[in-house]
């Protein structure tokens, strides 16, 4: 029984060992699986971490790019505003004054300065210092004076100079940083086409503003804009000065001409006064001469021998000629001095021309001249009837005088801009071109065989011109020797107020 129990116990123990071994083996397997799982999880986490590293690096690059892009966009906006601002001035002195601290800050810098280079004196002069106290500006000027050759090279090479890329600061970079009171700086040449050149320096100590090539480009654009603004200002100044000189000359000439005109007017007035006075003085004795010659010719003082009569008739005729001349002179003088008032009324030009022709009908008939007057549908002129009659008498008598037998004289009125144009044409000998310009001068007579044989004062056309001008009209002549002459004048048209 004890043996059985012992055997059973041994068998049980053996079974338990087997079971335990199986369980243990299973547990070991599970632990191994879990170990593998943990290992896989660790691997996954590490893989995830590696991926995270890639994401972070890419994100960092993107952020930096974005930051630079933002900076550039802000800088470009600032540059646009600044460019607009500096281009508004055309005063070279004002160009740098248009740049304000806020503009420089918007560009991402804290300080800025600008210098001009005097090639002759080989020295720089400070034009602008933003963000510097007086001491700082003096320090800048000293540094620039000390490093003038290196800085002049920036201008001659037309290339910017900056601390960018200088991993270890050289002596110049260190000195520049000290003088500019900043960690980072860019110096860009200002290169207007003409005039003084110079440089613009911008600087910053901000840790947010690590400089890059984009900043260099931005500052180069700004320096270029300043150069252009200076160039525009200089061009404007030159143009302005030239214009000022021109205006001064024009003023001087105008003054001279005005003085000359005043002198001419004085002279003309004196001449008119003289003619008027002399004419008045001449008229009295002429009236006496005419009177006495008429009495003698009438025979009231007794019969006169034929030879004396002949002389007396000549005296009479010459007196009449002289009286007409004196009257014409007086009329010219009166019109010029404005003493004659034109009594303007509606005047039929056709009737007036025909009336004048009628007065000359004997001469017209004697030379068998064909006279015509055309003014159909033309409104009446607004003029002094008596004066216009004188105009026609003068022009027609001239035409008759110079038109050969069987010639033609025509008067024609047409509508013209703002008035009426009258043409008095003849088929006479014509007037040489060189004489046409002087035709309306007083006492001028064309040098031709007809004039030599016919008496005249040379005052008729001068008087006609004064009368037409007193009516605010114009008179001119068109003529060709051998082809006749046309005198044309304008008069205002009568407009019925109703």
């Amino acid at each position: 029984m004890r043996v059985d129990i012992l055997m059973l116990a041994a068998a049980g123990g053996f079974l338990a060992v087997i079971i335990l071994s199986v369980v243990l083996a299973l547990k070991m397997e599970r632990i191994k699986e879990l170990g593998n799982l943990v290992s896989r999880l660790k691997d996954s986490l590490n893989e995830m971490d590696e991926q995270a590293k890639l994401i972070v690096r890419t994100d960092m690059e993107l952020n930096k790019t974005q930051e630079q892009l933002d900076k550039k966009v802000v800088g470009l906006y600032a540059l646009q505003r600044l460019s607009r601002s500096i281009s508004t001035t055309l005063d070279e002195q004002q160009t740098f004054k248009m740049i304000e601290a806020s503009n420089i800050e918007e560009l991402g810098f804290e300080k800025a300065c600008a210098f001009f280079w005097d090639e002759g004196a080989r020295e720089f002069s400070l034009q602008m210092a933003i963000g510097y106290e007086e001491d700082g500006a003096q320090g800048l000027a000293s540094f620039v004076a000390q490093e003038k050759e290196r800085l002049a090279q920036v201008i001659s090479s037309q290339n910017a100079l900056s601390c960018l890329g200088a991993k270890i600061k050289d002596r110049f970079t260190a000195e520049a940083s000290r003088a500019l009171q900043a960690d980072s700086f860019i110096i860009s040449p200002i290169l207007p086409k003409d005039g003084k050149k110079g440089f613009l320096a911008v600087a910053t100590s901000s840790r947010n503003a690590l400089l890059n090539e984009g900043d260099e480009e931005l500052v180069a654009i700004l320096a270029n804009q300043i150069g252009q603004a200076l160039e525009n200002a200089r061009l404007f100044e030159n143009t302005w000065r030239a214009q000022q000189g021109l205006e001064k000359k024009v003023d001087e000439r105008t003054r001279e001409l005005k003085t000359a005109l005043e002198e001419v007017e004085q002279l003309s007035k004196r001449k008119t006064d003289f003619i008027s006075s002399v004419s008045h003085e001449l008229r009295t004795p002429l009236t006496s001469i005419k009177g006495y010659s008429s009495i003698l010719l009438a025979g009231t003082l007794g019969e006169i021998p034929p030879a004396v009569r002949e002389r007396l008739e000549k005296i009479n005729s010459h007196s009449d000629e002289l009286t007409r001349m004196v009257n014409d002179l007086l009329d010219i003088a009166r019109i010029e001095s404005g003493k004659v008032v034109m009594h303007k009324v509606p005047v039929s030009l056709k009737e007036t021309a025909e009336k004048a022709a009628d007065l000359l009908s004997m001469q017209i008939k004697a030379k068998n001249i064909e006279f015509s007057c055309a003014a159909a549908g033309i409104a009446e002129a607004f003029a002094d009837r008596g004066q216009i009659e004188r105009v026609f008498i003068n022009l027609l008598s001239n035409a008759v005088k110079f038109t050969p037998a069987k010639g033609k004289i025509a008067v024609r009125a047409t509508a013209a801009a703002g008035g009426i144009q009258v043409d008095v044409s003849d088929t006479g000998c014509g007037i040489p071109e060189e004489a046409q310009a002087r035709l309306f001068e007083e006492f001028y007579r064309v040098d031709n065989p007809i004039n030599e044989g016919v008496k005249g004062t040379g005052l008729g056309l001068a008087l006609v011109k004064r009368i037409i001008e007193a009516h605010e009209g114009k008179i001119w002549v068109k003529s060709k020797p051998g082809s006749g002459t046309t005198f044309s004048f304008t008069l205002p048209r009568f407009s019925n107020p109703a």
Partner: protein, 396 residues
């Protein structure tokens, strides 16, 4: 009668004219109500003692608190140069108290926090405390102790929000104006109480990337070892570079790739910006990183940043309930400002969309933010945050 508020913004080139313009706008928006309190946020360019004294001279009876940041937020926009002034007219049943503490880096963090807390709750006996707002210009090496001391004194029953400077030599130091003078190495704040209704939201939008790691050795804000290796190896590995290159790219790395500390039950990781890489391979972070913390490298995008501010605004709006927001107070991280770049106005639009046109907006772009964590287990404890947008919507 509820809270009255008037917020004005001045961006004119002449700071004095800018201040006057901002003040004029704020007064006009405030209407007939008396300003009980004035807060001015400005960029550094506009932060001058005389400018703040100018504001005080226009409001001789009104306490004024001033703080600076990289940009100011106003209803009209986000401005990298300007001053925003908020005039707050509080109803009779609302209270506030101001306080400050100096030499915050010389004394123990906890003691400083307690001292400020004692000043802030002075006179608040039997009055419900609603919201605390804290500003600090100092580099708080014992930041967590400071907040712990502060909350120990004022209690954990109400949230603390605010802005501060932390240990980053890259970042500009903010300035504080308090009690007619500029404070240095100081913290100040105010506690609002009585019957102020508000909603809070806070979010950053950064997402974890790569495998989780453990802080194996750290002290305060210095991390010596991660996964048993010198801490810098993590960043060196991710960016495939040495310490020198890390230092060179520190600004970008700090803004875009903080570490995130995993906090149980929190929806988002608590972010810590890299402030410096030291020669021994240790890393200096903005804010404490506890030993044994589980961390991940974090990555953010413009869209995730915008989504975060939308989420924060929605949370704040939910907290406010059915009441509309009278004004929205924003502390938005400079890192987010830089990441968003030219899209940053979209962040403001998200606030406008969430709170509607009647809610005025007043805020600052900050170097580090103070805000509570959201999980119940954290019991309202405030933390220093990086890269975070904190939004407080103050109700009608």
């Amino acid at each position: 009668m509820g809270i009255s508020v008037g917020i004005g913004i001045g961006t004119l080139k002449d700071p004095y004219q800018a201040v006057q313009a901002a003040l004029k706008q704020a007064k006009a928006k405030l209407g007939p109500a008396q300003a009980s309190l004035a807060i001015a946020f400005s960029t550094e360019k506009f932060f001058h003692l005389h400018l703040f004294k100018t504001i005080s001279s226009f409001l001789p009876e009104t306490p004024l608190l001033g703080y600076s940041g990289t940009a100011v937020y106003a209803t009209e926009g986000i401005f990298s140069d300007g001053i925003a002034i908020m005039l707050l007219g509080l109803p009779e049943n609302a209270y506030f108290n101001l306080g400050y503490v100096e030499e915050i880096n010389a004394a123990s963090g906890g003691a400083c926090g307690e001292e400020l807390g004692a000043r802030l709750i002075y006179g608040f006996k039997n009055i419900r405390r609603d919201l605390g707002i804290i500003f600090s210009d100092g580099i708080l090496r014992k930041a967590d102790e400071f907040l712990r001391g502060l909350q120990q004194r004022i209690g954990l029953s109400f949230p603390l929000i605010g802005a501060c400077a932390l240990d980053n030599p890259q970042a500009a130091k903010p300035s504080i104006y308090y009690g007619q003078r500029l404070l240095n190495n100081a913290a100040c704040g105010l506690v609002l109480g009585g019957k102020i209704s508000f909603g809070l939201g806070s979010s950053h939008g950064w997402k974890p990337l790569g495998k989780p790691r453990q802080i194996t050795r750290s002290l305060g804000n210095i991390v010596y070892e991660i996964d048993g290796e010198p801490a810098s190896r993590v960043y060196e590995g991710y960016f495939s570079c040495g310490i020198d290159k890390l230092r060179q790219d520190l600004q970008t790395i700090s803004v875009f790739y903080p570490i995130g500390i995993h906090l149980t039950a929190e929806k988002e990781y608590l972010l810590r910006n890299l402030a410096a890489v030291q020669d021994d391979g240790s890393l200096l972070f903005q804010g404490n990183v506890l030993q044994q913390s589980q961390i991940r490298l974090m990555i953010g995008t413009k869209e995730s940043c915008l989504e975060a501010i939308r989420n924060a605004a929605e949370t704040a709006k939910r907290g406010l309930g059915s009441r509309g927001a009278k004004f929205v107070l924003v502390f938005d991280s400079v890192s987010r400002y830089m990441l968003l770049g030219r899209s940053r106005q979209a962040a403001l639009q998200a606030l406008r969309d969430a709170f509607g046109p009647q809610a005025q907006i007043f805020g600052l772009c900050t170097y580090a933010e103070i805000a509570p964590l959201t999980a119940l287990g954290n019991k309202g404890r405030a933390y220093f945050h990086n890269q975070t947008a904190t939004i407080a919507a103050i109700g009608e």
